[in-house]
């Protein structure tokens, strides 16, 4: 994705991760990395998929993405248990660059503490942290 974009409906973590919570099923969050993160990394060549059922903790890294020249921790914006992994990015990690908010999602998590979402940033606040 060539142009920086930060969809308004998502929640953001300062370590460059996003969460999507669909109000139809608020117990599940979809997680991924932001445009800024994939742009800094360069073309992603490898995504180490964590195991289903793994517990993730807010603010702690739960996996890594690699480009040729860099490795980056992926931090969980919310706590919970991994219930689905995006096989598309396992097979084609470049999708994380192409469509970081859509087809490039990483995992889905069953939230253990939905109230944690209050601590996350909205798009405008997150964008402000990038220029700081």
């Amino acid at each position: 994705m060539a142009q920086a974009s930060y969809p308004a409906e998502l929640l953001y973590h300062p370590e460059h991760d996003w969460a999507r919570i669909d109000e139809a099923d608020p117990a599940i969050a979809t997680l991924g990395i932001t445009w800024y993160a994939q742009d800094s990394l360069g073309e992603v060549v490898f995504f180490e998929a964590p195991a289903l059922g793994t517990t993730v903790s807010k603010d702690a890294p739960y996996t890594e993405v690699e480009s040729v020249k860099a490795v980056s921790d992926v931090v969980a914006p919310l706590s919970g248990e991994i219930v689905e992994i995006n096989e598309i990015v396992v097979e084609n990690p470049g999708m994380i660059n192409e469509d970081p908010y859509g087809e490039g999602w990483l995992v889905k998590v069953r939230l253990s503490d939905p109230a944690e979402r209050e601590a996350l940033l909205d798009a405008a606040t997150y964008i402000a942290t990038l220029s700081g």
């Binding site: 490898f46 180490e48 690699e66 480009s67 040729v68 020249k69 860099a70 490795v71």
Partner: protein
């Protein structure tokens, strides 16, 4: 030059940067520099005070062996283009180095029967330690089960490294010269990170690698590691076919000199699933912007310069020049040659062991198959016997107890056979060793 820099003297550059209290302020107390010819004479004089394989008939082994290094290896490793470049960080002008690495990786993968090989690590024992670290990264466990047939230096190096990350090393004894299978199975549990054995083992015996791997996997799921002697892989079943996950080994026998123990290289190969945990450099194939085939360092995100504290190891070096010698040697031996060499070693080793074992006071330590090295138990003091042999120009082999420190190794001599040891040489060894043992036994009896 000083004018361009804007200083009055070189001293000024230092005075402006190094605080006075830490300036040395006196000359280094070292001998004065010498012209090249004097340095040469000095180094030659030192060399003359060493008894090398050129000066005596040597049957020393136990990890490094006096094989014949063909002349073309010296010629290639002395070439400026191979000897003097740096690590290939600019691949466009390092295709020679990178292609050699790629060819070496291919050769080692073929030899070991495992899918992936790196471009080499330092040497044998530290390769065993590196395999242990890989296992720990892979399964998070902190216990290593090792056969007592592993080279003592490998066990010691593993212990030193394991202490760094609080891992335990447990030894499994041998029975009849090979790893005790029952004790091996019993020792391996759900906390075991890796199970490690040698092939052939320290006493020259061929282990039942397939049985050891199967037993390990039946007991729990450790990473199975074998330390192999690459020159035997023309005749012995490759570790990849025996259920081994990671094969490591001392590469010196492949085209490298003895050099009093180094430099050489360590081979490191593994199943595909361990690729991203492998230490060391790896060369990969790719294309350039015009579609030309080329090679680059790849999977660098495992390594220290990118992953830093999360690296698969801290290794910065491949033993590139030594690995070059290794791959050229393997090409020189070729598909048939490595088999023929192995069969020659088998025949001569068998002959030597049978001849020696027939002598009074000398017996085979075990009856297991051997390929290029074997162990004898002498009914005499090994050190004294060796001294007598050396006085007559024959170095009969390694005093196992002196190397391992194990009580059960008292009286044990390790004898190594290479293709340079002819039948006449072996006959001479038999004569002299036999006489030495006989003399020592007489003396002991007399006392």
């Amino acid at each position: 030059m000083l004018a361009a820099i804007g200083v009055g003297s070189v001293q000024e550059i230092f005075d402006r940067q190094i605080p006075a209290p830490v300036r040395l302020g006196r000359p280094l107390q070292l001998p004065d520099g010498l012209p090249e010819q004097d340095v040469f004479e000095h180094l030659r004089a030192l060399a003359s005070r060493n008894t090398s394989a050129e000066d005596e008939l040597s049957f020393l082994g136990a990890g490094m062996y006096d094989h014949y290094v063909p002349a073309l290896i010296d010629m290639l490793t002395e070439r400026s283009e191979f000897l003097t470049p740096y690590t290939p960080y600019q691949p466009e002008i390092s295709q020679g180095t990178l292609q050699v690495m790629f060819e070496y990786q291919t050769a080692i993968a073929e030899l070991t029967g495992l899918a992936v090989s790196n471009a080499s690590v330092y040497e044998g024992p530290s390769a065993v330690a590196a395999a242990g670290y890989l296992a720990t990264l892979h399964n998070g466990r902190r216990r290593f089960v090792v056969s007592a047939g592993l080279h003592p230096h490998s066990i010691q190096t593993l212990r030193t490294n394991a202490h760094g990350y609080d891992a335990e090393v447990v030894e499994v004894p041998l029975r009849d010269g090979v790893t005790d299978l029952d004790a091996w199975s019993e020792a391996i549990d759900g906390d075991t990170s890796a199970a490690i054995f040698a092939q052939p083992n320290f006493y020259g015996a061929v282990e039942d690698a397939a049985a050891l791997s199967a037993a390990a996997k039946a007991a729990a799921d450790p990473v199975v590691v074998a330390q192999v002697d690459p020159i035997t892989l023309g005749v012995l079943a490759p570790p990849g076919d025996c259920g081994v996950d990671v094969a490591v080994g001392e590469g010196q026998p492949l085209g490298n000199r003895l050099d009093f123990g180094g430099p050489s290289f360590g081979l490191f190969a593994a199943r595909e699933e361990y690729l991203r945990r492998m230490p060391g450099r790896i060369a990969g194939e790719t294309v350039d912007v015009d579609g030309r085939r080329g090679f680059v360092l790849t999977l660098q995100t495992r390594e220290q310069h990118i992953r830093r504290e999360k690296a698969t190891s801290n290794i910065c070096t491949a033993q590139a020049l030594n690995a070059l010698a290794g791959v050229v040697y393997l090409a020189w031996l070729g598909r048939r040659g490595i088999v023929e060499l192995g069969e020659l070693l088998l025949a001569r080793t068998h002959y030597a062991r049978e001849q020696l074992g027939a002598f009074p006071g000398v017996e085979k330590l075990h009856e297991q198959p051997v390929v290029r090295e074997f162990a004898l138990r002498l009914d005499a003091d090994v050190a004294a016997v060796r001294r007598r042999c050396v006085e007559r120009g024959v170095n009969p082999g390694v005093d196992a107890h002196a190397l391992s420190g194990r009580e059960e190794d008292r009286g044990v001599l390790l004898v190594a056979i290479t293709e340079r040891r002819t039948r006449a040489d072996i006959d001479r060894l038999v004569e002299i060793l036999g006489a030495a043992v006989a003399s020592e036994r007489r003396e002991t009896v007399a006392v």
